[in-house]
Symmetry: C2
Subunit: 343 residues, 2 copies
DNA sequence: GGGTTCTGCCAAAACGATTTGGCACCTGCC
DNA sequence: GGCAGGTGCCAAATCGTTTTGGCAGAACCC
């Protein structure tokens, strides 16, 4: 099952391989007779010629391939959108994505990077499945690398992350805009950028609205539905309960729904709820559908590829500080936010 | 930033490139002095030699690369596990996955297949994000291809799919085993293998238990939480209501929970519920946690790679019928199934 | 000692593209 | 006619491997 090569096209068109190559690659500064060009193009088309990327890459020292190295691809549905964004942006540039995941195994990671280097990838996307600070493996210094949904303390690596603080501000503002003044924050207790960023956004929005920060309105717990349930119960059990809850993520919001139901509070009539992450499986299937703030996963993937391309193109003075890009988290309004009940 | 090649190793070790190649590839039937072997291995290690896969592939007509072509990677969290299964099994064989998704755009799909062929992939996994029958593009006949979570009417393509019928039987049996005799089936109304397969499994399990099929216990609707809610309401509103519900998927089960809550029925005290798909974001976060049946996504990915490898190895008589593999769907018991209430 | 067999290694030809450096022919001009 | 310059094409080298078909020299045998 032999594929047709450039020589076959050349022979069929009665010209040399050189000429075919010049024509197909539209090389600048080469004079080609329009008739010949036409003939060659038609012949290539007719024979179904597809350039052999291995040969091409060998000659050009360029594989038109990018490694996508992620810590844990399986656990979150977000992974899909990041990949999709990266893949589509890559395809636009004629690049293909080589997927690997390390499962947070440092040793395996080494081997996988070697594999990618063997395949002579043009660059590597080092992706995390949740926004965090990472320790970048040494080997990645020898190849263009961009951090995706992750950042490093080493400024030599460009990174693309969501703007957690703006997201927190957006969520809180959505509640403020509906007239809420007493807003609880159901947060989580991990020390990650999302936690501190969203809290900062929450405080910022309150300050803007001239509302003082009240630590009694913040309740932290595990970041799943159980945790959200407990934290919400604590906040809603108080005498002067909040009229709205900003939840750290949609899973915690799911728990908040249950807490509200148990207390006989309807959403959004008695209590408004807003989540974060826009996990559609949850936010769209809850009743009422959950208003939330989306993480720009698709855009992160796409922007990471753009950054990578920039590094590949730029003859980088190694170690020079690179762009740390922060992406906007948009509001996704649904049905869980309404004006506070009249007292 | 030039990488070290086989010639560099040869020079450093004082032998020819031929010898280095023989040693590193452990070629059979070649006599090598153990001392030389040792020296070469050490030199390669010391210089950090990594073979250039492009050159290697060019020579061997083998890229050690597999295309993963999926219709829609983003919409479902299952995607991650399929990919992970495929990726890990591939890595085991020294293969890397080239990811592309078509978004169900036939024209784009053509281009992407061309791209994969340009990169001279050793084979292609043609994956669907839900079990269905597909029309395989013509171009895929020229390259080893395996259908993943999909099947074709053309028996030339091997495929790997979940055993929907066994899954339906397993779910129903779980309810029967807890003593339920009156079991409702909240199903969906699309004409896909999952619908008919799970229904067949439901009927099969009932028959085994000597219970007659009652069409009034089956209610179809959209396959999301809203649909599940409506279907469950219909079944639970009847005079002689079922004591347990088998739901087509976890999202519908989520709706069933709400229906139960509205009717004042507790799960699993008054009503047992079992789902399907094991969407952990839902099943683990519902209260009580949802018992369900898992789709073997990881295994499907892994088995598909195994099948692909078989096709690559086998000098296939083109068009010969290939294996259609069906994978077991395991029960995932949680807290939503209990014995029926005593009347 | 001379032939034969082993041992251990190597030179050179692929693989399929791109790129460098021409070369042959034509045209126009004096 | 001779020369300069332009036009349109091509031969050969190259990228980094693998593989084929040896070839020297040592060891063995009689």
């Amino acid at each position: 099952m032999k594929r047709v090569g450039i020589k076959d096209v050349a022979a069929a068109a009665g010209v040399s391989a050189t000429t075919v190559s010049h024509i197909l690659n539209a090389v600048e500064g080469k004079r080609i007779n329009p008739d010949t060009r036409q003939l060659v193009l038609e012949t290539a088309e007719r024979l179904g010629y597809l350039p052999n990327n291995l040969a091409r890459g060998l000659r050009l020292s360029r594989s038109y391939t990018v490694g996508f190295l992620s810590d844990e691809i399986a656990t979150t549905p977000h992974a899909g959108l990041i990949i999709k964004g990266a893949q589509e942006a890559a395809a636009e540039l004629g690049l293909l994505l080589l997927m690997l995941n390390t499962g947070n195994d440092r040793e395996l990671e080494q081997k996988e990077i070697d594999l990618l280097l063997q395949h002579r990838v043009d660059g590597i996307l080092y992706a995390s499945m949740y926004h965090r600070t990472v320790e970048v493996p040494e080997q990645l210094r020898s190849v263009p690398t961009v951090l995706l949904d992750a950042r490093s303390d080493d400024p030599a690596f460009p990174s693309v992350v969501p703007d957690e603080e703006q997201g927190g501000r957006t969520a809180t503002r959505e509640l403020l805009d509906h007239g809420h003044r007493r807003i609880g924050f159901v947060t989580n207790s991990d020390d990650i950028p999302a936690t501190s960023g969203r809290l900062a956004g929450y405080r910022g929005a309150l300050a803007e609205a001239g509302i003082g920060f009240d630590a009694a309105l913040v309740s932290a717990d595990l970041s799943d539905a159980q945790g959200g349930y407990r934290a919400a119960r604590r906040l809603l059990g108080t005498a002067h309960r909040p009229t709205a809850l900003f939840c750290f993520n949609d899973r915690m919001a799911m728990g908040a729904y249950r807490a509200a139901a148990e207390l006989g509070l309807t959403v959004p009539g008695d209590l408004s709820v807003i989540g974060f992450d826009n996990q559609e499986l949850i936010s769209e299937n809850l009743f009422p559908a959950l208003s939330t703030v989306a993480l720009p996963h698709y855009e992160m993937g796409a922007r990471a590829i753009a950054q990578l391309q920039a590094v590949i193109d730029a003859p980088e003075p190694a170690g020079a500080p690179r762009s740390q890009e922060t992406l906007h988290c948009p509001l996704v309004p649904r049905d869980s936010v309404a004006p506070p009940p009249r007292l």
